[in-house]
């Protein structure tokens, strides 16, 4: 396989593409070069099934014809391929639409941080997977999966250059575990469930990672599921995994593109209360292993409060939408964290008269109004403060913006997957329906 790219070369590749574009007549240009080496061990509950190594090498070139823009991305960096991409991008820009927001940043970019390994410890990764497979097979023989899980190391070099002389570069090395499981005992089958975790080092005992431990426990506890006894409007405790759906939808509604569309329930809510007082949501790359180093204009990723103690403090406005909306840029990335609360998870459950513990939301993509409707998967019925039984054929429906306003408690415990860090969150006013 090719040796790792010289870290300085990525910037040269990007600068070369920019130079070729301006020589071909572009008024301005930017290029982002990505080079990634990935080593991946695929496995199931019986054995390792595949070892895979891949290399990707891409140049994304955007050229500007006055304020019209066009973009091309290619694999590889052969000079003739770059020249062909330049011609295509120039044609695309000429076909574009004038837009005064199509400008490039001119200031030098503050440096972004590199992190993680450059080369994986392949033996350690395979050892970890073999230990995990053996543990699962011996300790939990009812767990099943086929070719659905993998443990991968990816080293990524990202380099940015534009025709104003702005450059950026960073390398990241991540070990990512993706586990998918169901359980089968004779004719009884549970729903499948999955979890992902990112670290900057190998983990020796994969089954002990908090997100995997929770996945295994919930899956084993999901036999003999049945619908909730009756339809009701009431309490739902979102697990960290299910909370990802809520937070992802809310964050989408806080984006610059949603403001451009004027299609968000938060349009005029800056500085206003949009959630219960204990709720704090932040873009916090400094706390998350899997955060990107910089955005698509070379701005280093930085922390940003979004909703603090229920009050909307910031939208997520990147470079382009800041120009379009004539507002200050806040962040072109979203690496999300919800602050833990002051209630133990056991107490959140104990004070629930009737509700469900929502393990995973399998439903429609929430609309622009943040209405949602879907099936409660990997979930449990709660009555009189106790988890009673696993549920199936049970649906949940409501509105995520309203759910934020009706939060009744947030757990002290969190699960940090490296991609996000979320607690368990209890809210009310959600319709839980049976068939």
């Amino acid at each position: 396989m090719p040796v790792a790219l010289d870290p300085s070369l990525g910037v040269e590749v990007a600068q070369d593409a920019v130079a070729r574009a301006t020589k071909a007549g572009a008024d301005c240009a930017k290029a982002i070069h990505h080079y990634r080496e990935r080593f991946e061990v695929n496995f199931d509950t019986d054995d390792v099934t595949l070892v895979r190594s891949t290399v990707t090498d891409t140049i994304s070139l955007t050229v500007y014809d006055e304020t019209r823009k066009g973009s091309v991305e290619i694999s590889g960096r052969a000079p003739d391929a770059v020249d062909a991409a330049v011609v295509q991008a120039v044609e695309a820009a000429a076909a574009g639409q004038p837009d005064p927001a199509n400008v490039l940043p001119e200031d030098p970019a503050p440096p972004a941080e590199s992190r993680g390994d450059i080369q994986p410890d392949k033996d350690a990764m395979i050892d970890a997977v073999l230990r995990h497979v053996r543990h699962v097979r011996e300790a939990h023989p009812v767990l099943v999966s086929r070719d659905a899980s993998n443990y991968a190391f990816t080293c990524s070099w990202a380099s940015y250059a534009n025709s104003h002389g702005r450059v950026q570069h960073a390398r990241t090395g991540d070990y990512v575990l993706m586990v998918m499981l169901a359980a089968k005992d004779g004719p009884k089958v549970t729903s499948f469930n999955y979890a992902a975790d990112v670290r900057d080092a190998t983990s020796a005992e994969l089954w002990k990672l908090p997100i995997v431990d929770a996945l295994i426990g919930d899956t084993l506890g999901s036999f003999d599921a049945r619908p909730v006894p009756q339809t009701f409007k009431g309490d739902v405790i979102f697990t960290p995994q299910a909370l990802g759906t809520l937070v992802g939808s809310v964050t989408g509604a806080l984006s610059g593109m949603s403001l451009m569309r004027k299609a968000t329930p938060f349009l005029d809510k800056l500085g206003s209360s949009v959630a219960a007082p204990g709720f704090t949501l932040a873009h916090r790359p400094s706390a998350l292993t899997g955060a990107s180093a910089f955005d698509d204009e070379g701005f280093p990723n930085h922390d940003l409060p979004l909703i603090t103690n229920g009050v909307l403090e910031n939208f997520l406005i990147g470079w382009y939408t800041s120009k379009k909306l004539e507002r200050s840029m806040t962040s072109g990335s979203a690496d999300l964290l919800v602050e833990p609360g002051d209630v133990a998870l056991d107490d959140l459950i104990a004070r629930t008269e009737r509700g469900i513990l929502l393990g995973r939301y399998s439903g429609n993509m929430p609309n622009q109004n943040l209405d949602f409707s879907g099936v409660a998967k990997n979930s449990f019925y709660i009555e009189d403060g106790r988890v009673r039984f696993p549920i199936n054929e049970t649906m949940v429906a409501g509105n995520f913006a309203s759910a934020l306003e009706q939060i009744t408690g947030i757990s002290r415990e969190v699960i940090d997957s490296g991609y996000q860090s979320y607690p368990w969150l209890a809210t009310t006013g959600i319709t839980v329906s049976t068939k």
Partner: protein, 459 residues
Amino acid sequence: MLDQLERHAGNLAPYTELRLHNNYQGTVVMTAGTLVTNSATTTGGVSARCYQDGAFGFASLPSLSDDAVPQVLRSAMDNADLLQRRSARAAGDLPEAGAGQGVFDHRTGLTAMTAAEQVDVVRAVDAYLRSSHPDLLNIDVTLSTLGIEKGLVNSVGAATYSFVPRTILYVKLSYQADDGIVDIYDVYGGFGEAHDQLRNVESLHPGLDRLYQECREKAAGVYCEPGEHDVVMDSALAGILAHEAIGHTCEADIVLGGSIAGDHVGDVVASEKVTLVDAGGRGPGGEGGIAIDVDDEGTPCRDVTIIEKGVLKSFLHNKETARIMGAEPTGNARAYKFDDEPLVRMRNTAIMPGTDKLEDMIAAVDRGYYFKRPTNGQADSTSEFMFGVGCGYEIVDGQLGRAVRDTTIAGVAFDMLKTVTHVSDDMTWSKGGMCGKKQLIPVGMGGPAIKCRIGVGGR
């Protein structure tokens, strides 16, 4: 591409697949009247997958050059060796599956649309909606083109080339209702390149006007009543029903991963009106959403009848699941990008038409819903599936009533399919089916209208 691969075909040992692969994608996005994306992407390279005594090794490089081929073959073999050394296996050979051959180029050869013409299509759709329906809160128009070009040889004689194009025009409308924002979308286009699908933008106007009307009706609409209801699913929903409710549950890797379908071969799992197939080529009727004649392991595709008149018959296999389950490979191994390994995937999956008429099916419902267009969906190992509904109406006394807001329908497939009482005599193929299972991949999904009883989400 095929000539280049065939030069290396003699060097493939032990069992090896060698693939050259390019994906050509174009994306033009207009949001709130602004052209925010105008891009073209070519992602390509070479990959190899080797198999030795039960150990698979895969490698890829982002290059189509001859020099990259020996490198990628060596890396794939190194990976198989590494796995073999660390995890002793003696699984035996992969089953024989035939050697797929042939050139399957689905380009029409008509003059391609230029970048400017593609932008003009998006502008024209946006401008038409903006002028015809100025009360809309927002309009999003996205033109997405995809051409997948593959050349494949393997060590057992397969040698094939394909180019499969698809064009999707996605239009989403937003409207400010009294109680919040309502949005709705539809997809136009389908199999073929942009010039095959979008030469006459004016022909889209009636559909765009209908979409606007549906948006207004939805804004005045109601939430569904939660619970199980009599439902008529339009033929536009049958494809996602076939895909999510049954198709995934019967992919052999999912069966090996615990799917409940594994225990029910030969059992009645649906009404006898239900016959469900997963087909190669362009599928039944030749109008499926994708084209595939040889899969990415080099196996000639054969049609699979998954359910025949209500009885579960068989599963979808690649070579490895066929080896484990003692079945024949069916040609369902597919990879999306050059650096993806082939997985068991659906192709053109469809419920076959029956004899009923849609209007009679609606008339047969006293109180229930008519669901017209789906959104996203998901399957499960238990066969409890779901998919969203973006456009639908109440049925009261056999007549269509008020529009309904976004909802989700769900059920346990092997229970719900037994409630099917009517299957219409027409058939609709999804224009833009995309499936996510480790890798995204285009799929064909089709079928007739269905009347059944199913769970509906609501407030």
